[in-house]
């Protein structure tokens, strides 16, 4: 219902905007401003996707804008292509550059991307200025034709403006819709916590490339329309400064909302007109504005107001079926077999030839003093580290060294010692992202939403579903993180100190929850320092010390093992034990 109402509102606004463009008397100067604003806004919407949703920086949007513009200019004048074919050409070339740049850089940290996009921006400017045979050099390209729509020629500026507004509305609508889609939520998960996103089953590298390429493509589209609007382009219109202007527009309006992009663009196109008294200082004011926005209003104008009246998310209604956990059949057989697993950091042997077998349907605890290699083992099992040596067999398949999202797909779910949630999303959205995993058992959007709510219900958090996780108390955040892992329907659940920081009541609830999970046949590998808890619920315990396995067996055997006692309490003198 909400979506339908939003769609109608959007359609109405589109019709009104296009009608105004066609009917209202607009003078040439205002017309230029409106055409500039609508084409820029499309490029800024690209920034919304890459910077706002996916949290990846792009300081080359003016270069992509320029590629689109030159696509139209060269396509229509030199190559004699039809306008829309040339528009598509420019957008596709921009998309291609986006894929190549993103693909080569997005595996690395954010500052590499900043650097590479700036470099790309400089190279594009150099090429446009110097490749005179194709780009006509600093003189630019003039007499760019405007399109025909069948028999309807869009020669007049008012017609062309209507076309630009149409494209702007379609783009803005798509970008707004993207935010709550599976792809958009995955982007936001990557932005909020890349490590957790990978472990939750998202191919983070692929998502980042998609976001970057989409942004480049929208830059190209906006640029192509810009070329038709002004019918003359030159390299100096697509320089580094313009990339910064596009970045500022996105930040000022509110970087993670489509409306923010439109607000920011409109303001910064009109502002220079109002700020004419600043004369040569106005770009300096831009720079100052960027710093001030970052310090005082990181959410931008729209983000600032959006916080005041946040819409509740659309939750599934009615009775939600209880959570099903498709635990593997054949309880008692080993589901996970680790042999000779090692992880060395330089000379440090964090994990040293560890063997471990976990029986299907059991709760297996991994204990040991601080620094004994427990979390490192979990990081190896969830793909955050690649093992130095050793084998990890999950259900008979060798999974050692796979990337986190592939291990998630193979059936490994996990929580983190220091909770890693997607902090700007609601509890429901966090858990929904878990249900995206291939193999969660849910194949359509509606059943995934139901599964997410069922998982929240399972941990007793259904009532908090619409709440932002960052505003939940610590104990509740732990439960949401467990629900996220459960929504993925894992065959093996890794819990890293789930009781850490919980009070007594919360601990008792956790024990009850773990018992229920075992009752459903879910296999659990648990790291925990609380020995009471470990003794109460584990079927088997493995003890690590200095990266090596020193004991393995039932709780009764292990907790009385002299090596274990020594590891926890220090060496016991001979005569005392005697």
């Amino acid at each position: 219902m909400k979506n339908a109402a939003g769609f109608l509102l959007w359609l109405l606004a589109l019709v009104i905007a296009v009608a105004f463009a066609l009917i209202l008397p607009i003078n040439g100067y205002l017309m230029n401003l409106l055409m500039q604003a609508s084409t820029y806004a499309i490029a800024v919407l690209g920034m919304t996707v890459v910077l706002g949703y996916a949290g990846q920086i792009n300081i080359a949007q003016a270069a992509f804008f320029g590629i689109g513009a030159y696509g139209v200019a060269i396509g229509t004048t030199t190559l004699g292509m039809a306008f829309f074919a040339a528009l598509a050409l420019g957008a596709v070339v921009a998309l291609g550059f986006g894929i190549v740049l993103g693909g080569s850089t997005l595996k690395l940290g954010g500052h590499y991307l900043a650097m590479v996009t700036i470099s790309f921006q400089e190279i594009v400017t150099l090429v446009l200025t110097n490749w005179i045979g194709v780009s006509h050099g600093p003189d630019g390209i003039s007499n760019i034709p405007r399109p025909h729509l069948g028999f309807l020629a869009l020669d007049q500026s008012r017609h062309y403006l209507a076309l630009c507004l149409f494209f702007l509305f379609v783009t803005a609508g798509l970008v707004a819709w993207l935010k709550s889609s599976r792809l958009g939520l995955s982007m936001q998960a990557v932005r909020d916590n890349e490590l957790a996103a990978g472990v939750a089953g998202i191919d983070t590298y692929r998502i980042k490339i998609i976001a970057f390429a989409a942004s480049a493509c929208l830059g190209g589209l906006g640029g192509g329309l810009f070329a038709g609007a002004f019918r003359y382009i030159s390299p100096d219109q697509f320089a580094f400064d313009d990339s910064v202007v596009l970045l500022t527009m996105a930040l000022l309006g509110g970087v993670d909302a489509a409306i923010g992009a439109v607000i920011g663009t409109a303001l910064l196109i009109l502002l220079p007109e109002w700020l004419r008294f600043l004369k040569q200082f106005y770009l300096a004011v831009y720079g100052l504005a960027v710093i001030l926005i970052m310090v005082f209003m990181p959410q931008g104008i729209f983000g600032y107001f959006a916080r005041l009246f946040r819409r509740a998310p659309d939750l599934p209604r009615g009775e939600v079926a209880p959570l099903t956990l498709g635990a593997s059949a054949g309880t008692g057989r080993p589901i996970l077999e680790i042999s000779g697993l090692s992880k060395h950091f330089g000379g440090l042997r964090a994990v040293d030839e560890v063997d471990l077998a976990i029986e299907s349907g059991s709760v297996h605890a991994l204990i040991g003093p601080n620094g004994s290699g427990k979390t490192t083992t979990l990081n190896l099992l969830s793909g955050i580290y690649r093992p130095t040596a050793g084998r990890i067999r999950l259900g008979g398949r060798d999974v050692a060294g796979l990337a986190p999202h592939l291990l998630a797909a193979a059936g490994i779910g996990r929580t983190f010692q220091n909770i890693r949630l997607f902090h700007s999303l609601t509890a429901f959205e966090n858990v929904l992202i878990g249900s995206f995993r291939v193999g969660s058992g849910e194949h359509d959007a509606q059943s995934r939403r139901e599964r997410a709510l069922a998982a929240l219900d399972f941990v007793g958090m259904a009532a908090r579903a619409p709440v932002l996780v960052s505003s939940l108390p610590y104990g509740h955040q732990r439960l949401v993180e467990i629900a996220r892992a459960l929504a993925a329907n894992p065959t093996l659940l890794l819990l890293d100190e789930p009781a850490a920081g919980l009070n007594l009541t919360e601990k008792q609830n956790l024990v009850a929850l773990l018992r229920r999970l075992r009752g459903h046949g879910l296999t659990i590998l648990l790291i925990e320092h609380d020995m009471d808890l470990v003794e109460q619920i584990s079927d088997r315990i493995t003890v690590l010390n200095f990266g090596r396995r020193i004991a393995d067996g039932t709780p009764a055997e292990v907790l009385r093992h002299p090596d274990v006692v020594a590891a926890y309490l220090g060496e016991v003198a001979e005569d005392v034990t005697a």
Binding site: S104, H111, L195, M294, P298, Y385
Partner: protein
């Protein structure tokens, strides 16, 4: 042969300037985990300080240098307070964007005051240089190479053999631990910004007689210095120096043998090549995020 030696010499000279700016990048990155995109503007400001003191005010060269470096030190501290400090608890992206904003602000303030025309600045000495057969060693290039060498040695001694230097290293390795040990982390970061601004200023003063002083000077040097620090291995001090020299030589050879208009592109082509083949750079090691 003489041509190659001549080009190598020129390349090393300009590369030394990139190395100095790259060093500023790396020091701030190590102290704060933030890339300062206004590092090149520090060099530009250094150049303009020299223009104001020695050309406009007619002060002697050495006095101009002293005043410029004091101004740069103050500016580095101010930069820390205005651009980094308010955002120090936030993630990487807002701080980076903030430094980009600062670079725009600085560039355009200077542009508004001084206009777009480049200004010439005389070198440190009127002595033209030394000839070795067909190879001519220009005096300003010799000054650049010698100063860079001296600074690198001084910096090494400072970081390895003084208490303040060791405290700064401690802060760059683990702020929390350093703070627990009673080290004034905020103060050390302030010092890092101050020193980086001075380094940038020196680079600007050194390169000004060769490249002219213009508002574009900052971006021109910064991009290559940043490329240098990635090629050397991000966050690595020797890497920044080697990377800087490598880029200086590569673009000088490229401009001579391949294309002059695309001279500025060679650094980026080298950068892309490294990102594809060896993203951790010459000296860098891959560091995984800890869960």
């Amino acid at each position: 042969m003489a041509i190659i030696l001549q080009l190598l010499f020129t390349g090393l000279g300009i590369g030394a300037v990139y190395a100095l700016v790259a060093l500023g990048f790396v020091l701030i990155y190590r102290a704060t985990n933030v890339v300062n995109f206004a590092q090149g503007q520090f060099a530009m400001l250094g150049g303009y300080c020299m223009v104001i003191t020695t050309v406009d005010l007619g002060l002697p060269y050495w006095l101009g240098v002293v005043i410029s470096l004091v101004v740069m030190a103050l500016f580095g501290a101010l930069f820390n307070l205005g651009v980094y400090y308010p955002l120090r608890h936030r993630s990487f992206l807002p701080v980076v964007i903030s430094t980009i904003g600062a670079s725009i602000l600085i560039t355009n303030l200077v542009l508004a005051i001084y206009g777009p025309e480049p200004t010439t600045l005389p070198g440190m000495t009127d002595y033209p240089g030394i000839s070795f057969g067909a190879v001519f060693l220009d005096a300003q290039y010799l000054v650049i190479i010698a100063t860079t060498l001296a600074l690198v040695i001084l910096q090494y001694i400072f970081f390895e053999h003084t208490m303040v230097g060791k405290k700064m290293q401690a802060v760059s390795q683990d702020k929390e631990m350093a703070s627990l040990l009673g080290i004034n982390v905020t103060g050390m970061i302030m010092l890092t910004f101050t020193y980086s601004a001075v380094l940038g200023g020196i680079a600007g003063i050194l390169v000004a007689p060769i490249l002219f002083v213009s508002v574009g000077l900052g971006a021109q040097i910064a991009l290559k210095a940043f490329a240098a620090s990635i090629i050397g291995g991000f966050g690595d001090v020797p890497g920044a120096i080697v990377g800087g020299l490598l880029i200086g030589v590569a673009e000088t050879l490229g401009a001579f043998y391949i294309s002059v208009p695309y001279k500025d592109a060679f650094a980026f082509i080298l950068l892309f090549a490294f990102l594809l083949i060896r993203p951790q750079g010459i000296f860098g090691e891959k560091i995984a995020q800890k869960a």
